[in-house]
Symmetry: C2
Subunit: 103 residues, 2 copies
């Protein structure tokens, strides 16, 4: 199993519409990716490791697939429409990481 994580850095003066992300963007992504998408998760940053510190990321989205190839095959044909929806909820440039799920 692999996990595609999309990290939205917690930059001052930037917007992130969590309601749109959860209720519009993620359902659209799920519909486009179909059965290749095994699971998904969304988190909102609360704080850092030190009390009172700011979170590194204001939001994180995670998509799970059987393999990198399964992700690429499913995402490729819809990349443009999925990425085109990003300005509807944020002006933050996200960072992306692909990971292997160990536990």
């Amino acid at each position: 199993m692999i996990k595609v994580s999309v990290f939205y850095p917690n930059e001052k003066g930037k917007k992130f519409d969590m309601e749109y992300y959860c209720n519009k963007h993620m359902p659209m992504v799920q519909q486009k990716l179909g059965n290749a998408l095994k699971s998904r998760a969304v988190e909102q940053g609360l704080g850092g490791g030190e009390p009172g510190s700011r979170p590194i990321y204001i939001a994180m989205g995670h998509l799970y697939f059987d393999s990198v190839e399964a992700f690429q095959s499913a995402f490729g044909p819809h990349a443009q429409s999925i990425m085109g929806d990003v300005p509807n909820y944020t002006d933050i440039q996200p960072a992306i990481q692909i990971s292997e799920v160990k536990i």
Copy 2:
């Protein structure tokens, strides 16, 4: 539900013993935190968003709790022994974030 994420930046020349982390560290953490720990996850970085790019994090560990208070109550008494085990698997200084699970 809240998620405590521990991010290990993918720094050149640093070590990360994934086998120790999965088979020794995480079971010890689970044993110390007991029932307050609702779930846990570990991932190993494969790559970034661009083909051939390096992952931001060489590893990530995630611990789920009912609330920030539940995490603090469970972790506090064991912080020293849990943190003291870190040098056994890595010389990377991890970054920590607490997030609210939305989906």
